[in-house]
Amino acid sequence: MMASKLTRTLRDNWLLILIFIGLLVFPHAVGWLTGSSPMGVPRGDRMIMRGESVRWQAVLIELFILSILAMSYNLMFGFTGVVSFGHALFFGVGGYVLGLALEYTQMETGTALVMGILGGVAICGILGLLIGLVSLRLRGVYFAIFTLAIAEMFFIYFGRLSLTRAEDGFSITDLPQWIDPAQNRLNYYYVALILFVLTFLFIRRLMNSPTGAVFKAVRENEDRAQSIGYNTLNYKLLAITLAGMMAAVAGMLQIILNKKVGPEILGITYTVDPLVMTIIGGIGTFTGPIIGTTGLHLLETVLREATITLGPIVIRVTDIWGVLLGGIFILVVMVFPQGVVGTWARWTARSAKSEPPA
C-alpha cells in the first residue's frame, strides 16, 4: 500500500523531481563544465565570489526569489481572483523588517536573523489582513487601486525616511557567515532553493485541498459561493494574508542577496513583474508563475550584456529591455491567451478528448 502510493507520487511528479535534482547539482555541474569552483576563489581567509558557477548561482537565487514572489501573487490573483496592484508592499516591508533587525538592533547576528524573519513574516501577514479588512469589500479595480495607493505610500515614505538613509538605503553588513552570499553563496543557493520548493509544495497542497476548492469557487463566482454558505470575505482575507507572508520571505531573500535595503524593493517593479510573469506563465496554474519567471529572467540575464548594431547605431539591450518585455508580453498574450501553461493544458486536454473512447 505504501509502496504503491510512493510509485504513484514518483510517476505523477517525475519531471518535477528531475528538475529538482537538476537544481541540486546545478552549481557543481556549472563548476565542472567551466572549470570554476562552486565555492568561489579563496583569498587569504576570505572567499571571493568569482567564476561562472557562483555567477550562475546568483542568477538562479534571483530566479527562486522572483518565482516565490510570482507564486504568492498567483495564490491571490490566479487562484482566488483577488487583483492587487500593491504586492511590492509585502516584498519591501519584509525586506525592511529583516534589514532593520540585522542592522539597527543590538541583538546577536543569529538571533537578529531569526527575529527579523519571524517579525517580517508576521508583520506582513498582519498588514495583509488589515488591508484586506479595510478594502476587500471593494471589488475589482477599486480594490486594486486601493492596494496600489498603500504600496506607493510606503514606497514614498521609506524613500524619505532618514532613519533608513532615505533613497540611498543601507547596507547589510552584519550577517551570519554561513548564509552570507558574498562568502558562502553555495549555502545561500540551497536555502533559496529549499524555500522555493516549499512554497511550491505548500501552494499545491493548499489548492488541492477542500479549502483550495473554495478559493477557486470564490474566484469563479463569489455570490454563488456565498449562497452555498461560505463567508467569502474570510477566504479572500486568508489568501491575501498568506500571499503577503510569502512575498515577505521573497523580499528577505532579496535583501540578503543584494546585501542592501533600499526603497526600490517597495517599487512598482515588484508588483508588475510577478503580475506579468504570472500572466505569461499561466494564471491559476501551479507551474505557470515559475515558467513565466524563468523565461523572462533568463532572457534578461542572457541579453543584459548584448548589443544590437543597426548600421552606425549601437543599441544596448539593457536600455530597451522595457520595450522588449512589452513586446514579449503582447506576443505571449496573443499566442497563449491562458498563459503558456494554461494554453498548453487546454491544447492537450482538447486533443485527448478528441480521441475516440476506448
Binding site: A213, S227, I228, N231
Partner: protein, 234 residues
C-alpha cells in the same frame, strides 16, 4: 399545518427599481410549493430576497421561527437552506467532485449523501472527476440540485430547473425533485405550468411584484380563468 417559511409583505428594490411591492409566501413544512407567474413578475427576486442576496427593505421573512431579514447570504445558507439558482449555477472550473465537496457543511456530509445523490443522478458518478464546465446542460442542472442535497438542508429553493432542457431530461428531473421532497421542503420557481402542476402541492402566483393568489395546486388546475389571467399570454 406548520409553515417552515413565512414571507410576509416584502418590498425589494434592485437599484432604483421597486421589484417586489408586497409579496407574501407561506411554505408549509414538507410541501412542494411553486411560485408561478410571467417573466419579470418577481419570482427569482423573491427567492433572492429570501437568500439575502437582494435584501428586502420592508416586510418579514421567518424560517423555522427565526428572522432572515438583515442576515448575510452565507449565514442564511448555514441555517439549513439550499439554493439552486437559475441557469445551472455550478462552478464550471471545479470538478464534479469538488462542486459536491465544497457544499459540505460538516465533515462527512458528502459520504452520507453519496448514495442518495447517485441514486437520483446516476450520471454524476460517471462524470465525477470531470470539470463541471464539460457537462451537458441537463447534467449541470442535476449537479446544481445535487449540491444543495449534500448538507442537511431543510428547505430547498430551486429556480427554474427545467429551463432550456429537453423533455426527457425534464421528466428525469421531476422524479428527482419528487424524491428529494421526501428529504426537505421545496420552494420552486417554474415557468413550465405543466411541470409545475404535476409536481407541486401548493402554488403562489407572483404578478408585477405582488402575490395576488395562492392555494392548493389541485384547485388551480380547475380554475382556467385564474390560469389565463396570470399565466396566459396577455
Amino acid at each position: 399545518m406548520n409553515n417552515i417559511l413565512e414571507v410576509r409583505d416584502i418590498h425589494t428594490f434592485i437599484g432604483q427599481f421597486h421589484i417586489l411591492e408586497g409579496v407574501t409566501v407561506a411554505v408549509p413544512q414538507g410541501s412542494i410549493t411553486v411560485l408561478l407567474g410571467r417573466n419579470g413578475a418577481g419570482k427569482t427576486t423573491t427567492l433572492k430576497s429570501i437568500m439575502g442576496m437582494t435584501p428586502p427593505t420592508r416586510g418579514s421573512i421567518v424560517f423555522e421561527g427565526q428572522s432572515l431579514v438583515g442576515k448575510r447570504p452565507y449565514s442564511i445558507a448555514q441555517m439549513g437552506i439550499g439554493y439552486v439558482p437559475e441557469h445551472r449555477a455550478i462552478f464550471k472550473e471545479l470538478s464534479v467532485a469538488e462542486n459536491l465537496q465544497i457544499a459540505e457543511r460538516h465533515k462527512g456530509d458528502l459520504a452520507r449523501k453519496a448514495d442518495l445523490i447517485f441514486e437520483l443522478f446516476p450520471d454524476l458518478k460517471r462524470l465525477y472527476h470531470l470539470p463541471g464546465g464539460s457537462l451537458s446542460g441537463g447534467q449541470q442542472q442535476m449537479l446544481a440540485i445535487a449540491r444543495a442535497l449534500v448538507p442537511d438542508n431543510r428547505l430547498l429553493l430551486i429556480d427554474e430547473p427545467s429551463e432550456g432542457l429537453a423533455p426527457v431530461i425534464i421528466e428525469h428531473l421531476m422524479s428527482a425533485i419528487r424524491k428529494l421532497a421526501e428529504q426537505a421542503t421545496v420552494l420552486l420557481v417554474e415557468q413550465n405550468f405543466r411541470m409545475a402542476s404535476r409536481l407541486a402541492d401548493r402554488y403562489v402566483i407572483i404578478d408585477e411584484g405582488h402575490s395576488p393568489a395562492s392555494g392548493l395546486m389541485a384547485d388551480l388546475r380547475q380554475d382556467n380563468e385564474q390560469i389565463q389571467r396570470y399565466l396566459g399570454v396577455a
